[in-house]
Subunit: 467 residues, 2 copies
């Protein structure tokens, strides 16, 4: 309904004269032609895809890691050689969490040969177990059940086995409810005396790969370790516990957990920024952004190497096509989105007193999949205006603009007309997100480049026609 | 533009009164509810995905192969146990082409250790080389160049190095021009005395996996062997030949080709058919179809295991939801689409005098990717009518209906109101098509199931509301 109703709305309002004519632009045939050429260039050009290959080759890019430093250096050199008007960095300090080397969750057998070793990943920010942790496990479906069974929690490992909702078209809408247990499970369980938490990975597929991501502690509540199980591991553990509850397993189940992750001091992280200055309105800035840091389990290919490459590619395509945009286009590769948001917060602070002001911002942080639409934190008039631009996106897969979030990195920006989030198809994102599945080979070059083309076209529409 | 213009067109025609009101149905809220539930059921249900896993485990399902016989048996048993009103087969005879065991294309080095072995795949239907074939190679871009250089062809292997056009959004539109050389290259080159053809794989990615597929011979022209090179192999060979032409390589290049593929007699192939009979119009049939055979290089996962599973799943979902359709729904798994079309031709012949008549047919043979739309060989009125159904597809990814082909298998059906082709996103299809990349792991369960849901909803709209 979403597309049809938007388009119908536009048509209906046009016909009934309720929409101010100035908010709908007639189709500009030379821009239409440009948008086609841009898409063709992006699809034929292997620049973005090859850049992503190089970026992914450094491995995960967690704040404080050597991989990230190498990736920053590489991209800074690359961008500096591309003929943009300026390339610079902003440096911030953030906490330095390290995964360590030990991540174990074991069901003890009669001897070491009959142990069951589960695949687990420490959650970002988790404290370690301080050696081997032996405790019984209690399975909890959600926070209602936790409250209901709060007297059974003390001294146990709480296993939050909340299932990712497969029943909806938009995977992002399933992420929120599920990630709640990863983020808040530890302090909620610790409040009732839990010694650790295990969560079922927030994932849309059925493999046994654990998906990491941050957890949150509350100062007044003890910090307990948290880790995620692969989906299959979680299903297996749940079956085991159910069998015990049914009396089908009578021998005692001995569980051991060990994590040596820790937060150790601070580290420096950088926003990498490149600009093409506006020919007419240099002080009006359109940001195209993504985050450079990535969880250490994979290569940060979809999350968010793809967005970084697309942000750089906007500038690359504008240069390559010989376009002189009216407004300034600024690509920002934000630091530390995954575990601190230091880059986004720092950027907003640094730029708030700048002579240049934010006209609009676009973020790509939902993977490098085939384009579907854009969500925008903007007024209904702005969204209507952008919807009237749909014909320029015919060759990209973009089918709609609708109300929605822009993205974590641009969310801190104040005073912009629109904070816009690129929305690729969401079916596969949570198969790879925050896990070892998020590698270069999971990105398709055509899908990635169609995203670059879509974001570039929208950037230029904002720059040339304005809202 | 496609969606907007369709939706706008509908709106404009509505407002200007040029569209007959009876061709646009008001939204039926109970069917809307049903369509949501159907999609949820498909997404949560692992039936289709697991069936595809089993089907792919047999390997490629080329006509005449043991794999195909096993797959036929397995699916027949599966469908027979699902409680449909009838399950039956139709048997036909087709030519029996076999790949054989030898597929070689070698650039001879000074010794066997310095040979360059290219990855090649015999084209379906190709004759063998009858032992080792030694010949020089001429690179030809297209048929214009072939005509222009016809005097240079005699005694040579013609290497058609036609590049898959990456510049367009819709990969299927790039397939036609490129596949022309695979299908017609051999007889066009043989006409001027070529001894064999090599083609650059019709593929959208950059690996070195050869993609197979049929070639065509013409009776009056000698039959010469044909094989495809992986894209990287083709690029390498082209560079080599260019260097020789520039005088940068002066030593003679010695090429050897060997294929022992052959056509040997005939084989039997089966259409597998299952039906749920209509409660009101039993003699009006809606076909949902796909083809069961698949090239032997991969597992026929996207081409067309996905379509087979989706066709069965239409019936499965209708049963599971307890729906009694008004019209008869017939799932047909067609035989021999890849190299003969015996199943499609036979089906059309067998059914032409049947008391049951085809009301409409839907084919899924463009891969198990995320839904985008449907193309239809139907009148503008029928397409408008189906477009008015878009709100029922909100949760599936389907965004449009437009004029276009239905598919090879249903193309032989006469007298239907609409021959409709399911149109998933096309970006990745030609990465896997007809190659060893077309395996189960390349299919995403959510994308596959959204396809099943889309096709089921359309089938039920046709059955319940009619055109």
């Amino acid at each position: 309904m979403k597309i049809l109703s938007l388009a119908l709305l536009v048509a209906i309002l046009l016909f009934t004269g309720k929409l101010h004519s100035q908010s709908i632009s007639p189709i500009d045939s030379s821009f239409l032609n440009l948008s086609y050429k841009l898409t063709q260039t992006a699809l034929a050009d292997t620049f973005g895809y090859n850049l992503l290959r190089e970026l992914c080759a450094f491995g995960g890019r967690l704040s404080g890691s050597k991989n990230l430093l190498k990736a920053e250096d590489y991209l800074l050199k690359t961008m500096s050689g591309m003929g943009f008007d300026t390339v610079y960095t902003q440096t911030f300090t953030t906490t330095n969490w390290q995964r360590g080397k030990v991540e174990k969750f074991i069901l003890r057998g009669k001897n070491s040969g009959s142990n069951v070793n589960f695949n687990v990943a420490a959650l970002g920010g988790s404290v370690g177990t301080n050696g081997l942790l032996r405790a019984d496990i209690i399975e909890i479906s959600d926070f209602d059940e936790l409250e209901h069974r709060k007297d059974e929690i003390n001294g146990k490992i709480v296993f939050f086995n909340f299932e990712f909702n497969q029943k909806v078209y938009d995977s992002f809408s399933s992420y929120g409810p599920a990630v709640n247990f990863r983020v808040n499970g530890a302090h909620r369980a610790a409040k009732y005396g839990a010694v650790a938490v295990l969560i079922r990975s927030v994932a849309s597929n059925f493999d046994d790969v654990p998906h990491t991501g941050t957890l949150r502690y509350i100062d007044s509540i003890p910090k307990i370790p948290g880790a995620s199980l692969g989906v299959r591991g979680a299903v297996f553990l749940s079956e085991l516990l159910k069998k015990r509850a049914m009396g089908e397993i009578t021998q005692p189940l001995m569980f051991e957990m060990e994590l040596d992750c820790k937060t150790e001091g601070t580290c420096e992280v950088k926003n990498l920024i490149a600009e093409i200055w506006g020919s007419e309105k240099k002080n009006e800035v359109i940001v195209v952004g993504a985050h450079l840091d990535a969880w250490d389990k994979g290569e940060g290919a979809h999350d968010d190497g793809a967005g970084c490459v697309q942000s750089i590619e906007v500038l690359h395509l504008i240069k390559k096509m010989g376009i002189k945009p009216k407004r300034t286009i600024r690509a920002v590769l934000f630091a530390n989105e995954e575990n601190g948001l230091a880059g986004a917060r720092g950027y907003a602070k640094v730029t708030q007193d700048d002579v240049k002001k934010h006209y609009a911002a676009i973020e790509s942080d939902r993977g490098g999949f085939v384009p579907r639409g854009f969500t925008a934190d903007a007024s209904p008039e702005v969204i209507s205006k952008m919807t009237s631009w749909l014909p320029y996106f015919t060759m990209t897969g973009i089918e709609w603009f609708k109300k929605g979030g822009g993205g974590a990195d641009i969310s801190q920006i104040k005073g912009s007309n629109a904070l816009i989030g690129f929305y690729p198809d969401s079916q596969r994102y949570f198969d790879v997100h925050h896990s070892e599945n998020d590698v270069f080979s999971s990105v398709n070059h055509r899908e990635l480049e169609l995203g670059s083309a879509s974001i570039t076209i929208l950037t230029l529409l904002l720059s040339e026609f304005g809202l």
